[in-house]
């Protein structure tokens, strides 16, 4: 059973190598290799789900090559899995399997390389989630990154992908190298790479600037990947141009993996040594809410459907970070549930956009207005998922957000969440209503944005007259899974189990005992109070407000010009266009400048918070 740890990473790697080498042998029967890739990905998903079940009661550890720690000193590399880490990895594997099925009829040429890159991406994701060693974390982070850069540029014949991939790769590489600097710094002080061992060291020594800066630098790469303002610029450039099945992974898990890494670094390694919980909580809460609002505003203004969904991911990443920043078990459990619900719903939306692109060869909302009526089934899936993104109960998004708000118990946080939910939900519902049902008028055309949206030609080779089942089925399954996560979390036992898992994730003593002493810790120690995780009236009312607000906003945006009271020609959010153009410049020089400024600002904030 323990061998599942090693197998879940190495099986996709070996499969990728074998598939690449076997390519010439199967020139006539490419589908055999495609099928093998899907099967491997599905089997990894099953392995990881087994790990979730196995670690449901207590986390467990696996030591590579059998080098167990001696006297608290780790000499090898370990994997440490709990329900949250294994759960996130399995979420990634499920999404990846669905995307591969979707891509079955999507790329008719050079599909083999696509599968090879997807499998290495899967291995990187899994390794990143499970590892208990900071340098190993960097290695899997880079493997995931290199696969993702190549996948973004998968259609080099288009203009956008190359530019998006370049911005993505350079920004993320700079982030990764700064992370490595942080790793080198903490190693230089503690002489350890194992997370638990570093935690023991920093807990038993007086706090120093080195610990703060090592933490800051290590999370820099993760903040970049997690698309937190002001490290987020690359995301919209890359997500808008990557092949649609890949967007599902980027939005559904890659961003969330960055945030998971931050939570892991904070709780398992640095949290106790940094101290000053209230101040640190405020810093991350500010960052998260800033990100949520920025993403939501930009999202509402977009006309390029994939770019719109990308900005909505930024907004959600901010809300996930806010959930973590509360530093409570309920907040973390809410963030985890929110991540799962969001991943499926967003996956369904992206796949819906992919079907539209496949059939109608455009993702320009204005042009598409009313043209989606030819795609009734896709329309239903997209609309259902859009309501899911707007927190319709009982989607997973609703309860996740409800738990975060409930844990914060701060009306202003609920208000900001509500505004973001309304803006993002309104934008997506506007697309659904306009494109698939022809409601209202086409949204106003902003010449440059329209040009950007028109850049997109089809990703598939020839437009087909009907939508293959291999495209519709994954989209429908994702939407259903988004609903299922929410319904599952309504069961009190599941909710309590999730919260207990979150409490264990936050219990550093339990983590250290599990890793260094091989102990079995079934419940978090005191100091991690578990608030009841249930459905509150406030959560339901807020969610319904969010859905109604989003629907109203969407209708208002669609019927804007027919409202007699308002000046004609005024577009809601028109002023934002300038801001988008100014900040989202697409120039890598700007992005790196923002990145450095972000580190400096965050370093200053942390310094103030600690002193």
């Amino acid at each position: 059973m323990d061998q599942l740890y090693a197998l879940s990473v190495t099986v996709p790697l070996v499969a990728a190598a074998v598939i690449l080498a076997a390519r010439p042998l199967f020139a006539e029967h490419r589908r055999v290799l495609d099928l093998a890739a899907v099967a491997v990905s599905a089997s990894v998903a099953v392995m990881l789900l087994f790990l979730v079940v196995r670690t449901y009661g207590a986390d467990s550890t696996y030591w590579f090559a059998g080098f167990r720690p001696v006297h608290g000193i780790a000499i090898g590399i370990d994997f440490e899995a709990g329900p949250l880490s294994a759960g996130l990895a399995s979420l990634g594997a499920v999404l990846l399997t669905g995307s591969m099925v979707f891509s079955w009829r999507y790329f008719s040429r050079v599909g083999t390389y696509f599968h090879v890159l997807m499998l290495t991406f899967l291995a990187g994701m899994t390794g990143f989630c499970l590892t208990g060693d900071v340098f190993d974390l960097f290695v899997w982070f880079e493997l995931m990154g290199v696969s993702a850069y190549a996948l973004t540029a998968y259609r080099p014949e288009e203009r956008g992908p190359i530019q998006g991939a370049l911005n993505f790769a350079i920004t993320n590489s700079v982030g990764a190298y700064l992370s490595l600097t942080g790793i080198a710094l903490i190693y230089g002080r503690t002489g350890a790479l194992n997370m638990a061992q570093i935690a023991v060291y920093v807990n038993h020594h007086p706090p120093s600037g080195l610990v703060v800066i090592a933490f800051l630098l290590i999370i820099t790469g993760l903040l970049v990947k997690g698309a937190i303002v002001p490290f987020h610029f690359w995301l919209a450039d890359a997500h808008a141009v990557a092949p649609t099945p890949v967007c599902v992974l980027f939005s559904g898990v890659m961003v969330e993996l960055g945030l998971y890494g931050i939570a892991r670094m904070y709780w398992s390694v640095f949290g106790a040594a940094l101290g000053h919980q209230a101040a640190i909580s405020r810093v991350f809460l500010t960052l998260g809410l800033l990100t949520a609002v920025t993403g939501a505003l930009f999202c509402f203004r977009e006309r390029h459907v994939k770019r719109l969904l990308a900005f909505s991911t930024i907004s959600h990443a901010g809300m996930f970070l806010a959930g973590f920043a509360l530093l409570t078990p309920l907040g973390l459990a809410g963030a985890a549930l929110y991540v799962a619900g969001h991943a499926f719903v967003k996956g369904a939306l992206f796949l819906g956009a992919g079907i539209v692109l496949h059939r109608l060869r455009s993702v320009n909302e204005t042009w598409l207005h009313g043209r989606g009526r030819r795609l009734p089934v896709t329309g239903v899936i997209f609309t259902v998922a859009a309501f899911g993104l707007a927190d319709l109960p009982p989607f997973g998004t609703f309860l996740g957000k409800g738990w975060i708000s409930g844990s914060a118990a701060a009306p202003w946080l609920t208000a900001i969440f509500l505004v973001c939910g309304v803006l993002v939900g309104g934008a997506v519902l506007r697309v659904a209503g306009g494109v698939f049902y022809g409601l209202g008028d086409p949204p106003g055309e902003d010449p440059q944005m329209a040009a950007e949206a028109n850049e997109e030609t089809g990703e598939t080779d020839e437009a087909r007259q009907r939508t293959p089942l291999s495209m519709l089925a994954p989209a429908a399954v994702f939407a259903a899974l988004g609903l299922a996560t929410g319904i599952a979390a309504l069961v009190p036992r599941v909710a309590a189990g999730l919260e207990a898992a979150a409490a264990r994730f936050q219990d550093q003593h339990a983590y250290i005992a599990t890793v260094l002493n091989g102990a079995t810790v079934t419940r978090a120690g005191p100091g991690h109070p578990v608030a009841p995780a249930g459905v509150t009236v406030a959560a339901v009312v807020t969610a319904l407000c969010s859905v109604l607000g989003a629907a109203a906003l969407a209708l208002a945006a669609l019927y804007w010009r027919r409202l007699p009271l308002l000046r004609r020609g005024y577009e809601p959010g028109a002023g934002l266009t300038v801001a988008i153009r100014r900040f989202q410049s697409g120039v890598i020089n700007d992005y790196i400048t923002w990145l450095v400024a972000g580190i400096a600002a965050l370093g200053g904030l942390l310094a103030v918070a600690i002193h």
């Binding site: 080099p156 190359i162 590489s173 190693y187 230089g188 790196i592």
Partner: protein
């Protein structure tokens, strides 16, 4: 001496980042990225150095001779491979960008944003 290696690390990082921020040529930016990464080798090997230590090879010297840290050297080796891989991939992007757009100026490329 105590602080010189670390000052050089900071200098190299800032120099590399400055290059990326000011350059108008993608290939030069990629080269500057190599410089940024090279700072991590210097830092890694710097923190693992032991004054008077020998290289960690015991083929012809007795065991338990004072030696420098072998772990950072293994990490630096991995780092070098990562550098080579990322650089090669980035260069292929740059070539393709040049072929598509006829330019390697990031400012001009930004106008082709999709």
């Amino acid at each position: 001496m105590q602080i010189v290696p670390f000052l050089v690390v900071a200098w190299v990082v800032v120099a590399g980042l400055y290059g990326i921020v000011t350059s108008r040529d993608l290939i030069h930016q990629i080269i500057c990225l190599i410089v940024v990464q090279s700072s991590t080798y210097v830092l890694l090997l710097g923190v693992g150095y032991v004054t008077g230590g020998v290289a960690p090879y015991f083929y012809d010297i007795p065991l338990h001779t004072k030696a420098v840290d072998p772990v950072v050297q293994a990490l630096a080796l991995t780092d070098v491979v990562v550098e080579a891989a990322v650089t090669a991939l980035l260069l292929s992007f740059a070539i393709q960008a040049h072929k598509r757009f006829g330019t390697l100026d990031p400012h001009e490329l930004a106008e082709f944003k999709g």
